[in-house]
């Protein structure tokens, strides 16, 4: 898989955007695009590990919705006793991380120990979380208490040195993920597991544990993403996180990770996420086409981006 391919696609998109609208390269727009990429991005980093180790997770979108719903319920419930302040927010964050981790472990357990096909397990849990959210929200929307939301909002909208928090967190996740994947034992073992389970097993790699860890990690990253998501919208409903799973998987694959496992790269995933976000952003910058056709443009660009990789690979 080419190193240049996805980068070229990204650069082309940026040039296209800049030509179409002078504000495209403005700080405000760049911040927007990066910050909103953070949710899918953080999840996609976790997905990179899952896919590299030969797995798949379709449940992340509804898991995010479920975690967000839990987080909101817990924070609202704790508000009377804790009052608006840092403790309640920390409690919420802890809830998100723990809930995400547990959800990920559940997927991983069913896949590695009960040995059910990952596609089925996560399709099942996708349905389960989605409908639990609907049920928790009684068919409507769960909202964070308004004062609390005002207090929590800066976690999405502020930052340090002019860089928004989601961007900082996303960057951290990417750096840690990249190190884990390419510089740590864990990444190697994921690749070995995905490449040939038996060989990995024979080489003393605990295949089940490696797989389980990838799902747990993905779950926890869903929790992290949710921590960034809740202050942005302050609510969760059945429509939260719909299709995030497809977007995350698409980003991973656009970035050059192999769907059947055995090879993955985190930085590629980041580029995949940015490509997907930019497509949406660029479609909003102009009104070239009927909004009905947005989906078609997206589809075409995704395919083209991957073709571009092939070409760059063939040459390079």
């Amino acid at each position: 898989m080419s190193v240049l391919g996805p980068i070229i696609a990204l650069v082309l998109l940026v040039i296209m955007g800049a030509l179409m609208n002078p504000n495209f390269l403005g700080a405000a727009n760049i911040t927007n695009v990066l910050a909103r990429s953070a949710f899918i991005g953080i999840i996609a980093v976790g997905m990179t590990f899952v896919i590299t180790a030969g797995g798949l997770d379709l449940s992340v979108g509804s898991m995010a919705a479920f975690v967000a719903a839990l987080m909101i319920l817990v924070m609202n419930a704790a508000l009377p006793s804790l009052g608006v302040g840092v403790p309640v927010v920390l409690l919420g964050m802890l809830t998100a991380l723990v809930a995400g981790l547990l959800a990920g472990l559940l997927n991983g357990f069913l896949i590695t120990t009960v040995r059910i096909e990952a596609f089925i397990v996560t399709l099942g849990t996708m349905g389960i979380y989605r409908s639990l959210v609907t049920w928790l929200a009684d068919g409507g929307t769960l909202s964070l208490n308004f004062d609390l939301r005002t207090f929590y909002r800066p976690v999405y909208f502020d930052g340090i040195f002019g860089i928004a928090w989601p961007i900082i967190v996303f960057a951290l996740v990417v750096i840690i993920g990249e190190i884990l994947m390419s510089k740590a034992r864990f990444g190697r073992r994921c690749a070995a597991t995905g490449s040939n389970e038996q060989v990995a097993h024979y080489s003393n790699v605990d295949v089940n544990r490696t797989r389980l860890l990838t799902y747990a990690m993905l779950g926890m990253l869903v929790g992290v993403a949710t921590i960034m998501y809740v202050p942005r919208l302050g609510s969760a409903s059945a429509s939260t996180g719909v299709l995030w799973e497809l977007e995350a998987i698409a980003a991973v694959i656009i970035g050059g990770t192999v769907l059947k496992g055995g090879f993955g790269r985190v930085w590629g995933t980041v580029i995949g996420v940015l490509i997907l976000s930019l497509i949406d952003n660029i479609l909003n910058l102009t009104d070239l086409v009927s909004p009905y056709l947005n989906g078609a443009i997206q589809g075409i660009i995704i395919i083209l981006a991957v073709i571009l990789q092939r070409e760059a690979k063939a040459k390079g």
Binding site: R185, R188, S195, V199
Partner: protein
């Protein structure tokens, strides 16, 4: 032999489902000694080795380490005990690099992160010990079979084993490479490592092993010092009959025999160029050369399996273009791959499906004639002496040699008129080898023409009517019946003209 054995097995039985493949095997490995385990295909050698190393639990019986009974709860325990097994089939993750494979499961860390520089350095060291020059950063999928084997050996060396078990390590190696390996084996033995290995090349066994244990049908039939047996004795003890005349007589090809295949200026980009040769009816043409000389790729290019061009290819005097394997097959030109695991057999499927895959048209029309398939399987099992526990066994569970026999049977289903057999006897026991050689010769009597690509010098010399020697993608020499000697072949292969006697450049 002195002292207690490092590792031994007592009365080990092993069942796969209802079938017992080991019937009470006893074996002792001593420090500083090389033990060879030999036997026919399917005798249970690989299974014995896996039980010893903890890869498969015995169904009953005991494994003793330093005299104390052990049960390996996991592979890890076996490794902890210092037992390392090199598998008969490659045990490398294809997408990972050489270095990643060598250190898989025991990566070297520095401050919690991988110490890649160190691992690369050590990989290079280990590879250097077996004189292998591949770059540690190359993905294993891009290596040739012999390099893969060397990587396996390097991986085993990196483990600092007390007991080193090698399952047919030399099957994919040339003699030169095998002797590099044996230098290492001797060094390890002298350092006190206990070594167990199998091989179907009895010469090697004679050379390197201190003792030899012979298995037949899942039981040990003989065990003793190598010095007390000749190669013929070993063969006879394994097979139960005399196999001294391994190669069939060469009746010679009449000069007026029609040319079945004529190749002019065949180019396989990156691997071979400007190959020209003729193949006559009733002839066996050997292709010799060093590993990496491009024989395999040339043949694959010829058969439409990879991109290639040629000035002219004639079959039966008719010029033809071969762009896909089916173009070749339609003309009766068929290639037997050297790599049974990756290119030859569907390991997850049964024998019947594998047997008929290449020649499906011959079994019914649109719908497959199941009966005809079964009949063909019965015939193949009989004709090639395929020993499978059950007819519906997963092919991946067949012993290595039996897989090879099935592969040969599979290729013959398409009834080729020109057969290109690449390393046809890899992993095959000596008794069956004799049968296969006889079979190939019989095919020439029936009017076929055969190309045999082989890295086993004796096989080429014993079998071929003429020999083409390849070097760096070109035909360096074409030897007629009278010229086929080990010396001339080696000299051509090394790039030294047949009439000069200088050293290789």
């Amino acid at each position: 032999m002195t002292g207690q054995p490092v590792l031994s097995m007592r009365d080990v039985h092993k069942n796969f489902g209802p079938i017992e493949v080991l019937h009470g095997v006893d074996l002792d490995l001593h420090a500083g000694e090389v033990l060879a385990l030999i036997g026919e295909n399917g005798a249970g050698k690989s299974t014995t080795m896996k039980c010893l190393a903890g890869y498969q639990p015995p169904s009953s019986g005991r494994i003793l380490l330093d005299g104390a009974e052990v049960t390996f709860g996991s592979l890890h325990d076996g490794e902890e005990a210092g037992i390392v097994l090199i598998h008969q089939e490659f045990n490398l993750a294809e997408q990972l690099t050489v270095e990643q494979n060598i250190f898989l499961g025991r990566e070297v860390l520095k401050r919690g992160l991988l110490d890649k520089a160190e691992m690369r350095r050590r990989s290079r060291d280990y590879l250097a010990r077996v004189k292998c020059t591949v770059d540690p950063d190359t993905p294993v999928s891009r290596l040739s079979n012999s390099d893969k084997q060397m990587v396996e050996i390097a991986k085993a060396l990196s483990r600092d084993a007390r007991v080193l078990i090698m399952d047919e390590p030399t099957a994919v190696l040339t003699n030169a490479e095998a002797s590099i390996l044996f230098d290492q084996v001797r060094a390890l033995r002298d350092a006190g490592t206990a070594i167990l290995f199998t091989s179907h090349k009895l010469g090697e066994v004679k050379d390197i092993a201190d003792r030899v244990t012979i298995m037949r049908d899942g039981a040990v039939v003989h065990s003793g010092p190598t010095s007390e047996m000749t190669e013929d004795d070993m063969a006879t003890a394994m097979v139960g009959r005399d196999v001294s005349d391994l190669y069939p007589a060469k009746p010679g090809v009449p000069p007026d025999a029609p040319v079945l295949l004529k190749v002019e200026g065949l180019d396989v980009p990156g691997f071979a160029s400007d190959l020209s040769f003729e193949l006559r009816q009733g002839e066996i043409l050997g292709f010799a050369g060093l590993i990496g000389s491009g024989r395999t790729e040339a043949m694959e290019g010829l058969c439409g399996l990879r991109p290639a061009q040629a000035d002219r290819i004639e079959i039966d005097g008719q010029a033809i273009a071969i762009r896909s394997p089916s173009d070749a097959l339609d003309r009766g030109l068929c290639y037997l791959t050297e790599d049974r695991k990756i290119r030859g057999l569907l390991l997850d499927k049964g024998m019947r499906v594998n047997l008929t895959l290449q020649a499906l048209e011959k079994f019914g029309g649109m719908l497959i004639d199941r009966q005809a398939e079964e009949a063909a399987l019965t015939r193949a099992i009989d004709e090639f002496d395929i020993r499978a526990g059950r007819r519906d066994v997963r092919v991946g569970n067949l012993s290595g040699g039996n897989q090879q026999k099935l592969l040969l049977a599979k290729v013959m289903q398409s009834e080729p008129r020109i057969l290109i057999a690449d390393e046809p006897t890899r992993g095959i026991d000596i008794g069956t080898k004799q049968q296969i050689y006889a079979y190939l010769r019989k095919l020439t009597h029936e009017g076929l023409a055969i190309i045999v690509v082989s890295s086993e010098m004796q096989e080429i010399i014993g079998l071929a009517d003429r020999v083409a020697v390849m070097r760096r993608g070109r035909i360096a020499g074409m030897l007629d019946a009278g010229q086929i000697t080990e010396d001339t072949i080696v000299r051509h292969a090394m790039g030294v003209g047949a009439d000069t006697s200088g050293r290789a450049a």
